[in-house]
Symmetry: C2
Subunit: 505 residues, 2 copies
């Protein structure tokens, strides 16, 4: 589908491109802390270029625009789901036996519900991830299909603006050979507004919270993990909040929530920085870059911490319900063929149709009608090659691909089958790129995943009637990984941050 | 002279300040490549925070303003010296036997002079370095005294803007304890405009050069060393040139001048980037960040390279004569008590008086009248304690301090004495700070050196009448080193970049 790309570089071209890439990335904070396997750094003072592609990957312009065009509809959809407790309860109840994590999150929700929520505003900084899908029966047709929808800790927005800046710089300084100029040029490289847009989302929530009734200074808390190698990604958002919006931010380790915050009698979340114990801040927004995965909750204190945040009057990004709305199970029930759920949450038919276009069919492996079809597709070696089997449990990993599916199911007691969903494989066009990571250069076939960020601030309303205060697209992310690895993610060391070079296909 | 400063931090305060410093510095390119002694990095992909002070060092406001107030006069002075071949010849002739380097530079000048210079414009990006001097007879009086004047490769301008940004950020996020607020506040931390101002200096020269008569694309060359750990300092200037002024820049290793450039029949300097051998650029400005020290010239090819640049029509920053104007010997003859030279180059009496105020007395150790006085001062153990003995030879190092001087001279044959100059020690006020460097934190007494950058573009004129086209102050640098080391320089590992916290004294 794509023209030959990228070109082979001779030694001088490679040296020019790489030395410029290495310097520009550090000079502009397109960086990560190095992995211990790369270099031991007890002082935490070293950094290296974030894993990054040498060239912007080719990406169909029509697909890029398709993904952007549904960003606001997705914000609408997921804010609706996150506001529908009754519906979400049904989802959770189906999973409660196979997924302790969801069950525990639900318990946090129930506890706060019993007490009554102190904050009706909710902030979503979402990211909808897509791959380009080429219809095998009509290879001229490319569209995006959704891989997943992230409602918590959507990362790399802080770096994405920088990657698009890097590739534009490399273009401007002639690091890309002239014969590429019909492909890579200023009009084919879209900027990513992810840093200013995500920061604006948080700033809008901060503003909507208002000032402290007690006259305390206010702040936004970034709830973070320790260690965090991807710290600069988060810092760029902080610096934009500080500089552009004059919003005070603090990083708080998930481990320190119980020590450093308290919920006062009016349920305000009060943060006391350890370095200024006599100063107290009222927290307007808690932005979770931790607490999204089971591994963040190693003992009960972490659940107590999550509860403390949830019951406070701070605006959560996200609330527990919003996090639950992002589970794979929700994606599955929306994307099951003939599902009635999409129309329920997105009554605008045009919007719903556009969103539906981005779904790859997903089936449950249960006793429903769709489940029966799924069993047939998954056990037949011929049809199975078009599918991937994914555990319903959150946390990723352990996917079963294509022809391995029938054998895997044969060995699995049928009572355990409902713990999996069957998803039609997205078939991305073949393409290649070169990745710079940990000081090493690797070239080969790659798969690109486009993420579109969305920011949404809504009021769940005392009357159960949702009111959307802010709803905007918030930039993009392109992540690229070698096509040999069927699991991925830049931070885990499998991929790189990238930016698209838009092409007509 | 100063109030107690900086405060002792408790563990939580230190952790807060340091973690913010480490992240902000990398996110904003306030970085260096790590020294091999710190970490081995064959791929050249690691970076670390530039050595930096945790607090902005106290600095008398009156001294800061004094140093800035003479910036334009110094530009005037040194452009005049660099335009006076006859006078400089006298200086060089005095040194030719003790300093091969100056002799070789002079030979380059003579060779081009014989052929005739192809470019009458010259660019100076200068930095005048000062320390605060407290008159021991009147300790209420603080003024700046010049340490040296740099006419070539004045470094750290690229980082200085960032350090001032760092300290302002740390102030804004409350990393400095409240009890300091009368000292550190937004009005006591001056911004450094060094990045935009130095870039503007180069851009003005680029513009003055004009377009290529042959219709070639034009560019500015940064002549650099390999390896260069302080690369981001240089890169920030490049990026400002690219972005703000739309000027194309290339880094060229001093070792590669003869391979990658040629001087055409019209003496234009033509650069052919190795990565695009079919593209030729006409060089408007050569900005030397290499070629300033004897160690850069390891064989004849380097002198051939320097000659190639000097005889070309590119604007040199600096020319050979401008580099020679920056030798210690020139500083000495200007600063010798009752010297007539300052008035010669700076006829404006008010300007000359202001510049004279910044001189610490410097004496030759020759047979002149001033030399006789110097011999007396240097050999008397009582008076020697107020002086430092410096070799006239360029390149730094091997200074003899205070009470070591008489013994040193006793062991040195008197015929070798003229190879040294005697300079009155500048007596800076005692102060302390904490430096973060190579992942380590060190606290103690420090000495601060303030550099004021100046940009000057002048036309030496066919008629020998100099015409100044641009003359402006170009930001500042504060460098701070431990007061135990009497040699210094951040890149060499002895000090840190800093920014001033201005105080009334």
């Amino acid at each position: 589908m794509y023209p030959p790309y990228p070109p082979d570089l001779n030694a001088a071209q490679k040296e020019y491109l790489l030395s410029n890439l290495k310097d520009w990335s550090i000079a502009h904070g397109l960086a990560v802390r190095p992995a211990p396997s790369y270099v031991q750094d007890d002082a935490g003072a070293l950094a290296t270029s974030a894993p990054v592609t040498l060239f912007p990957s080719l990406f169909p312009k029509v697909c890029f625009e398709q993904a952007r065009s549904v960003a606001r509809a997705y914000n609408e959809l997921y804010s609706a789901i996150a506001s529908d407790e009754g519906w979400l309860r049904g989802i959770v109840e189906e999973l409660v036996e196979i997924d302790d994590f969801m069950a525990s999150l639900w318990k946090v929700y129930l506890a706060v519900k019993e007490e009554g929520y102190a904050q009706s505003l909710a902030l979503g900084l979402f990211r909808s991830d897509y791959m380009v899908h080429v219809d095998q029966s009509n290879t001229a047709k490319a569209s995006v299909k959704q891989v997943e929808f992230n409602t918590i800790a959507s990362s790399f927005g802080g770096l994405s603006s920088q990657v698009s800046g890097l590739h534009q710089h490399l273009l401007a300084i002639d690091a890309y050979p002239d014969e590429l100029s019909s492909l890579i040029n200023t009009s084919s490289l879209p900027e990513s507004s992810s840093v200013p847009s995500l920061a604006k989302g948080i700033a809008k929530a901060h503003e909507a919270y208002g000032s402290s009734a007690e006259g305390l200074p206010t702040c936004v808390l970034f709830l973070v993990q320790d260690p965090e190698r991807n710290v600069f990604d988060q810092r760029h958002l902080e610096y934009a909040l500080n500089k552009t919006h004059g919003v005070r931010t603090f990083r708080l380790l998930f481990d320190r929530v119980l020590q450093d915050t308290k919920v006062d009698k009016n349920r305000k979340l009060i943060y006391t920085p350890p370095h200024t114990p006599s100063k107290h801040y009222e927290v307007t927004v808690v932005y979770l870059r931790a607490g999204y995965a089971p591994s963040d909750y190693t003992d009960q204190s972490h659940w107590d911490a999550r509860l403390q945040i949830e019951r406070s009057a701070a605006i959560k990004c996200p609330t527990v319900l919003t996090q639950l709305a992002g589970t794979k199970k929700v994606q599955q029930v929306l994307a099951t063929p003939h599902s009635p759920h999409l129309a329920r949450f997105l009554p605008d038919q045009q919007q719903a149709a556009a969103v539906l276009e981005t779904f790859a069919p997903i089936y449950p492996l249960d006793k429903s009608e769709a489940g029966n079809e799924a069993r047939r597709l998954a056990t037949d070696p011929a049809s199975a090659t078009r599918y991937v089997l994914k555990p319903q449990r959150e946390g990723g990993g352990n996917n079963i691909y294509r022809k391995a599916i029938p054998g895997f199911l044969k060995d699995l007691p049928e009572s355990h089958w409902p713990a999996y969903i069957l998803m039609e494989m997205i078939e991305p066009p073949a393409q290649s790129n070169t990745i710079f990571r940990n000081g090493e250069v690797q070239s080969g076939g790659v798969i690109c995943e486009l993420g579109i960020y969305g920011a949404c601030l809504w009021d769940t309303g005392a009357d159960g009637k949702r009111d959307i205060l802010e709803n905007f697209e918030a930039g993009y992310l392109l992540r690229t990984k070698g096509d040999q690895s069927e699991e991925g993610g830049v931070a885990a060391g499998f991929g790189a941050v990238d930016s698209p070079c838009l092409v007509d296909v």
